[in-house]
Amino acid sequence: MHELQDTDIVQSVLLGDKTRYAILVERYQSFVFTIIGRLIPTREEAEDVAQEVFVKAYLSLAGFKGNSKFSTWLYTIAHTTAISHLRKNRIEPLFVDDEKLSDYLDNKQHTVNNTNTQDQRTAINNAIKQLAADDAEIITLFYLAGQSTEEIAAITNLEINNIKVKLHRARQKLKDIVERTYGKEAQLLYREQ
């Protein structure tokens, strides 16, 4: 049986079949939760904001015109909700400075003797968490959520060129983090796939 398209589900919810909204929640909860988690590191808080995102999206569902992918529309709500949550609570998003990052890396010299896929995922996830919040969000949107640079620009309300530069720099930083954390063993992470 083929998977229902997002736009079809949206249409049936708009026609009154509220229960179908659960399909969209199931489909996107982990992505929304991860994206918000890049900006709000506290797990419980991130989960509350993620729930708020789905409630907001439900209330404004009639405003989804299908001009973009449903996921792009949803991630835009996720981004703006997370940012306004940070502003409302006067929380500064985590922007790691180089000195702190250096200390972290010095104290965290891992030994990677036997890498498997799970180790690789853990390693890369840990490395992403060391990035500045906005870089981590862009990396997550690009690689995990499968958004194009144009779509990320729409989500974050930044220029496309700005996103391309940020993405390139974030990738470089990530590479540095992986290599500084794992030293020569970083090659094992790359190769043993």
Partner: protein, 125 residues
């Protein structure tokens, strides 16, 4: 792209999303009970626009038919028709026909897309 960058890229594509708690979907669905979807700020296609296009189509079709079928000098047609068509230059007839075809296509697209949507929703329900 350098070999190292490509390898990092491949590694990145193995990223996995973090999972919220098991009750997440249930919590969201409970939160939306009793909530009503806010009406859209405006219809995607205004009904007035559709009706105006249809009216324009009918009107220009009538004029085109009158011009093509009734010769400007004919004596067996009402005076008003005769007077109206005699003022339209002959070369404009093609513009009117072209304009009508475009209007017809726009209306057909609107009609077919609404029909497709209804069919889809009927199948889903």
């Amino acid at each position: 792209m350098k070999q190292e960058e490509r390898e990092l890229d491949e590694l990145m594509r193995k990223l996995e999303a973090e999972q919220p708690s098991m009750r997440f979907t249930k919590n969201v669905m409970e939160s939306i009970v009793g909530l009503q979807i806010a009406p859209s700020a405006g219809r995607y296609i205004n009904l007035l626009v559709v009706r105006s296009i249809a009216a324009l189509l009918v009107l220009s079709l009538v004029i085109a038919c009158m011009y093509v079928l009734i010769s400007p000098g004919a004596t067996n047609v009402p005076f008003a028709y005769n007077k109206l068509t005699s003022h339209i230059p002959h070369s404009y007839a093609w513009y009117i026909v072209g304009f009508n075809i475009i209007l017809l296509l726009v209306l057909a697209e609107l009609w077919l897309s609404s029909k497709r949507r209804i069919k889809y929703l009927e199948r889903m329900n």
